[in-house]
């Protein structure tokens, strides 16, 4: 099989590139994402968003073979899957990792072996600055972004003393760094929790004693659900703010009423007014019978970026494919979208509020926090 494909390719080359750019070669995409455990909601939405875009593309996607594997939110499992996908499945493009510690374990090795990596979510600062790579594209954001917007919002909301909390892993550190970059008031306390922690009694006690006028927390997936449920039952009344991850559509139904009215910052919301987004939200609901989360939106955008690049070049022609990705000529559900010098997005960030829409908790944009926002690490990236 492999040999015959290579022979075929060589023949095509010898024939003087008789075949036009969108060659018939099959493109293998390996998706490594979290499909079980407390982080399953994130990976399932990533996968579903990605697959929805492929389905909508119809014939254009027929040469894409998508392999999906569950990383169980464990770095060692993710590395094993990546090795298998690269060495025995011969994938051209990797994507799908939700968690930054897993991304740090997989991405540098994958791009080092000449593979492309398109991030649907995790975008640690270590891969945005000095560690950037021309084959690594973050379609979602740079980790700090949503938290930077939350810091800016905390100023606008008049909070003077904020208690900040995030899990102790790369994205958690990026989160608090991003928040502090724009927030000008005092920090009541800076707390790091364990990744996957499910009991927040200790942290809630610290919040109660801190005298803070707001709590900023970054706890994606099951962590956020556990925290909000316990916070609601603790009798602490301090208002909470957070990035979209803490109040995303995958979290809201389980948190329930405790989330109503909470402000959070995002680069996507289901009410961003553009045709691509409208079509996406409708199709996602029709196909999966639930509202899409930010992770679904990122997965959808990533697949569409990939499709747009494949129309112009194949991953086998790395240079052309890289240039085609960099153009980002797809209709993002976020509206404006382009890549900065370090292959991370330049985009608008919004403040959203959790509302009750006909009995379903969801988010509504109430303000724009930042316009055409890039990231703080782009200047350090030399590629």
């Amino acid at each position: 099989m492999k040999l015959s494909k290579r022979l075929g390719l060589t023949t095509a080359l010898i024939a003087g590139m008789a075949i036009a750019a969108p060659a018939m070669a099959e493109v293998k995409v390996g998706m490594i994402t979290t499909l079980s455990g407390g982080g399953a909601g994130l990976g399932i939405d990533t996968r579903d968003g990605f697959q929805l875009a492929l389905k909508q593309a119809g014939d254009k996607a027929k040469d894409i073979e998508l392999l999906i594997e569950d990383d169980q939110q464990k770095p060692d499992v993710a590395v094993q899957i990546a090795d298998k996908m690269i060495q025995s499945d011969n994938v051209d493009v990797l994507t799908g990792i939700v968690w930054s510690n897993l991304a740090m374990a997989v991405v540098p090795a994958a791009v080092g072996q000449g593979k492309f990596y398109l991030s649907t979510n995790a975008a640690p600062s270590a891969l945005a600055g000095k560690g950037c790579n021309p084959n690594y594209f973050s379609v979602s954001y740079q980790n700090d972004n949503l938290h930077e917007a939350a810091g800016a919002y905390a100023n606008d909301a008049g909070f003077k003393k904020v208690f900040i909390m995030a899990p102790n892993y790369p994205a958690g550190k990026d989160s608090l760094a991003g928040f502090k970059r724009y927030y000008k008031g005092d920090i009541a306390s800076e707390v790091y929790t364990q990744v996957g922690q499910t009991d927040y009694a200790g942290e809630i006690a610290q919040i109660r004693a801190s005298g803070a006028d707001a709590v900023f927390f970054f706890l994606p997936g099951g962590m956020g659900i556990a925290f909000m449920k316990q916070y609601a039952g603790s009798g602490v009344e301090t208002p909470v703010i957070g990035p979209a991850f803490s109040f995303s559509q995958d979290v809201l139904p389980a948190v329930g009423e405790a989330a109503l009215g909470v402000k959070n910052t995002s680069n996507w919301s289901k009410d961003i007014d553009n045709p691509a987004n409208k079509a996406f939200v409708e199709a996602f609901q029709a196909d999966y019978n639930r509202l899409p989360s930010i992770y679904a939106a990122y997965g959808y955008d990533t697949a569409n970026l990939l499709l747009s690049a494949l129309e112009k070049a194949q991953p086998s022609d790395a240079e052309a494919f890289r240039a085609a990705l960099k153009e980002a000529s797809f209709d993002s559900v976020r509206g404006k979208f382009s890549f900065g010098p370090n292959n991370h997005p330049i985009q608008d960030l919004y403040v959203r509020e959790v509302i009750d829409e006909n009995g379903t908790l969801t988010n509504k944009i109430i303000a724009t926090a930042m316009t055409d926002h890039g990231d703080a690490y782009a200047a350090e990236c030399k590629m």
Binding site: S36, V191, T193, D199, G202, R208, A226, A254
Partner: protein, 303 residues
Amino acid sequence: MTLLIEQALNGLQYGMMLFVMAAGLTLIFGVMGLINLAHGSLYMVGAFACAAVAAATGSYWLGLVASLIAAAFVGALVERLVIRRLYTRDHLDQVLATFALILIFSEGTRWLFGSFPLYLSLPPALAGAVSLPGGVTYPVFRLVIIAVGALIALGLWLLIGRTRLGIRIRAGEADREMISALGVDIGALYTAVFALGAALAGMAGALVGTLQSVQVGMGEPVLILAFVTVVIGGIGSIKGAFIGALLVGITDTLGKALLPVLLQPVLGAGAGPVGAALASVLIYLLMAVVLIWRPQGLYGARA
């Protein structure tokens, strides 16, 4: 000060839950000499039974009862079908077989309930927080957990110390061959002890699942801590499990709360992540220190 009291209560609550988990583990280890890695699966079975029954009937209380019954039933079944064959085998075989049980239970539960976590809501009587003397506000449900843990400790102490079954359990720990020679049905005794341990694990799973979330694999992190507790307390000792669990619970909670603060003058801004990382190894340090001082554990009869 109120912070310290609240953190101490958190540690106590955590310790009580660990005790309920570790009590079953230490009984099974002590009486049957069996290393049961699948104890965490019984914890998960209890949590899922509670979530399923509570969702079907709308009653959290029925869910709790179901967690006890389901875990005890599954425990007894597993003992009869699998564990029974392992008593005479060495520990490696037991670990392998019970590890296989973990995989079977996890995939079975995933097959039945899916990968998404389930969430329980509290009945209004147990929701919210109360003000305690001393100006501390504390969630009602966590107080209930402390009370349940204390009641179970008392109940087990009475059972082991004051009843015929307790005498048999203690005799079984001391000399297995002798009590079967004396006409005690050792098979039935083992099944009963295993089911009792399983029911306790299931109950712990349901209570903790209510507070956090009910999901596949929820038992494994707790299992490790329960083993740490058993080793600290001394294998086979309920009293050891109780003291060990409270030690682990309070060390872990207070370590997480205090270490970042204590390291602040030394490390400055880096104190947060470093303190958090150090706090998570604190209980293993505690275990190492206890084992150096008393290799058989705090109340263990044998090493």
